[in-house]
């Protein structure tokens, strides 16, 4: 008996060279020859690129010519090309599941030093696959309908762009943002490189569209708390935190803020990174969407003592939008696909004490400086130091928290360009002499190099060398009262001491602090640095390993605004392609229970995490609901009688494979 009844099994084995990727290490000829001698193998070939059209044609032709009914391809990871060759098998007129892929690239040629050992290993894996495929059966993929609603997590430029794209195509969108307003980091920026467009001028119209677009359901001050289900049919719980102002009733006039007992702002404003002050009732920033203020219960007198005259309530009058009784609410959503656009955080420079951030008041982060140069920022665009002075010399330090084994090894990609932008803006606004300290200048984008040239021509000093530290100990009167940067000018070959009034730390982009929790919530992969893992770095950059969940923007890795927008569009398109198809095909790897073999021991019932198995009291056997089964196979492993089996991973298949690898 084999997987196909008693019909004789005819196996074709195809070994891919993958150029030199495989053939450079594995002796592909010997591999194909050894496979030819395995039981059931009718034809065994090697070819330069199996995944190419001629390669696939070879399989189709052979299948017809030799009457093959099993195909084994030895090439790369099934995560890359399993689908490709299943289609080839189907094109050849055979059931696509009568195929098995052997990974001799990622698991063999790329990780082995010794060609002989690599060839041995590849032979064993191919032998196992031949033994396994013998037991393969014809299967049909399952079809599941796709709910057209989309959940977008994060309302920065990535989330906004994806939401608008989907909504304008008529798809219902839930946009969930943790902060009181959408806009994300881009709303905090002054100008954008390299065109020096005003960030607010290009972002705020999009933010307003979000509010106006009827297909977008915007939820601010909200966080996803639970995700269940699977592609096409996710169930999501969202926690909505109280704003204490009814969004439906508020007209955004701001009179309540005027009437607060605090005449001036007193508490550090989040949006201005503490450089500006706000009242307990406040608008996050003037162009916030929704354009509704919020009350911070931690600082509001009414919450603390219940003794506030409540000028805000009084002035709101009949509109009656202020509601101190709001509480946390949880809503449940049903969506078919999810786009993650949770963004990034900036590096905390206190981790590198040598730069004196937090110790010397005039050491700033680049994001703080964005607020300082911004016309609507806390200083109305005046660049003045914390002591009110105008800086005469400014040092901008690149790579703070990037390209550093002590912090993050990766390059944050945008720092060179935003540092150039800040150099230009700071010079323009203050006339100060600006120094940029860089390791390598990275300007590989459209118009970027031209911008670098422009800043060079501005007369900004570019010093190739990483500043070792910021100190205040002066060696000469000229250094008194200054921040002194000690640096090796690596191009000129001298050590320099440069006194400045203001230090700007070009901080790295990092994964959000709670990326690990969010990743678990959505069952995503994460790189060691905390960035969400895409399905394939080149060919599936917005997909994830969880079907139906896509990535947009910096949650996947540092990137600039155009790349973020492009990726958000791609994520929206991927989501739409699922919605418009209307259904998804699921891997037919579900389990089933052979009634005659079931002894009714109940073991499998407790094993299933999806309650897909119940016990039929009449028949005294376990019954599996295929619609609920996700195909993990845990019940199969637990079944003492062999009654539980799993498609594509049946006992016969796995046992044959194990035996096969043990040459």
């Amino acid at each position: 008996m084999n997987g196909n009844g008693n019909k004789s099994v005819k196996i074709g084995v195809y070994v891919c060279h993958c150029g030199t990727n495989i053939a450079g290490k594995v002796d592909v000829k010997a591999l194909a020859e050894s496979a030819a001698g395995l039981p059931g193998v009718v034809v065994s070939r090697e070819y330069k690129y199996m995944c190419s059209d001629p390669g696939q044609d070879l399989i189709v032709k052979d299948t017809k010519q030799f009457g093959l009914n099993r195909i084994v391809v030895a090439s790369c990871s099934p995560h890359l090309h399993e689908l490709t060759f299943r289609k080839t098998t189907a094109n050849a007129g055979e059931n696509p599941y009568l195929f098995h892929l052997v990974n001799i690239r990622e698991h063999v040629s790329w990780v082995s030093d010794d060609p002989a050992a690599a060839t041995e290993k590849a032979k064993a894996l191919v032998k196992a696959a031949v033994a396994r495929v013998f037991w393969h059966q014809e299967l049909q993929p399952r079809r599941v309908p796709v709910n057209p609603s989309v959940l977008i997590v994060g309302g920065g430029i990535a989330g906004i762009h994806a939401a608008l794209t989907l909504a304008s195509a008529g798809k219902p969108v839930y946009l969930v943002e943790r902060k009181p307003s959408i806009g994300g980091h881009m709303a905090q920026f002054d100008k954008t490189f390299p065109t020096l467009d005003c960030a607010a001028c290009i972002l705020t119209p999009k933010m307003t569209s979000v509010k106006q677009q009827p297909n977008i359901h915007l939820m601010t001050l909200a966080e996803v708390s639970e995700v269940s289900g699977f592609v096409g049919n996710f169930k999501v719980k969202v926690k909505r935190y109280p704003r204490y102002i009814d969004e439906a009733k508020c007209v955004g006039c701001g009179e309540c803020i005027e009437m607060c007992v605090y005449k001036e702002g007193k508490y550090p404003n989040d949006f201005d990174l503490g450089l500006g002050k706000r009242k307990p009732i406040y608008m996050p920033f003037p162009q916030a969407v929704p354009p509704v203020p919020l009350i911070d219960p931690a600082t509001c007198i009414e919450f603390k003592s219940h003794k506030c005259p409540k000028g805000c309530v009084e002035v709101c009058g009949d509109r009656d939008a202020i509601d101190f009784s709001q509480t946390v609410k949880e809503v449940e959503l049903e969506v078919g696909t999810i786009i993650m656009a949770t963004g990034f955080k900036t590096f905390e420079p206190r981790r590198l004490p040598q730069y004196g951030y937090g110790k010397f008041p005039n050491v700033y982060t680049s994001l703080e400086v964005e607020r300082l140069v911004n016309a609507s920022g806390p200083t109305l665009g005046q660049v003045v130091l914390r002591d009110g002075r105008r800086p005469e010399a400014i040092g901008i330090l690149h790579c703070i928290g990037s390209r550093d084994e002590n912090t993050n090894r990766y390059c944050s990609r945008v720092c060179c360009m935003y540092s150039l932008k800040l150099a230009h803006l700071l010079k323009e606004k203050t006339g100060a002499h600006v120094y940029n300290f860089y390791i390598d200048m990275r300007t590989p984008g459209k118009g970027f190099e031209e911008f670098y040239k422009r800043v060079l021509e501005d007369g900004v000093s570019f010093i190739r060398g990483k500043v070792a530290g910021v100190t205040t100990w002066a060696q000469s009167p000229a250094e008194e009262g200054k921040l002194i940067l000690r640096v090796e000018d690596t191009l000129l070959g001298v050590v320099r001491r440069i006194p400045v009034d203001m230090v700007v730390l070009s901080v790295a982009m990092e994964a959000q602090a709670d990326a690990e929790n969010v990743r678990r919530l959505f069952n995503l992969g994460c790189s060691a640095e905390g960035w969400f893992l895409e399905r394939h770095p080149k060919l599936a950059p917005v997909d994830t390993f969880t079907d139906g969940i896509f990535l947009a923007g910096c949650c996947q890795g540092p990137k600039d605004i155009p790349d973020t927008v492009a990726q958000a569009g791609a994520a929206a398109a991927q989501s739409m392609s699922l919605i418009d198809k209307g259904y998804v095909e699921m891997e037919p790897n579900t389990a089933w229970i052979e009634e005659e073999l079931c002894s009714g021991c109940h073991v499998c019932v407790a094993m299933c995490p999806y309650t897909a198995i119940h016990f039929d009291a009449d028949k005294k056997v376990a019954v599996l609901n295929e619609a609920l089964c996700k195909g993990c196979g845990t019940c199969v492993a637990a079944c003492p009688s062999g009654a539980a089996q799993q498609n594509l991973f049946r006992d016969e298949q796995l046992f044959a494979e194990v035996e096969g690898v043990l040459v």
Binding site: E106, H107, V111, R520, T634, V661, L662
Partner: protein
Amino acid sequence: MSDGFNPLIVGFFCNWCTYLAADLAGTSRMKYAPNVRVVRTMCSGRVDPQMILWAFSHGADGVLIGGCHPGDCHYQEGNYKALRRTALLRKMLTQFGIEPERLRLEWISASEAERLRDVVNEFSEQIRGLGPLHLRPDVREEVVAA
């Protein structure tokens, strides 16, 4: 290999974490010992103790199971089931005259290619140190039957 004994190890890697870590080790061109032969399962929870015994009785000198970290299982808790099963099986192995160290369970996430490399290298060395597994023929039959 120069010192004669080249251990054979069967690796049962779950599709979502450890298999992907092995893929990443490949794309990162990390080099590691060629002794582990990978059998892919959807979840480490699919790894049947019988399958492990089957491997030992068919010539494996070691078995390495790779799953997602606790709390990260693609199927919620299959990895916990694997953990319990291996713990139990280890006790049984001693009775068959198989050193329990020949069976190893590791949590390796999709991004931990370096860890995968280190575990494979370390385990290969450890098994090399233990020497080949010589199952007595009668035990072998017993194991196959188990």
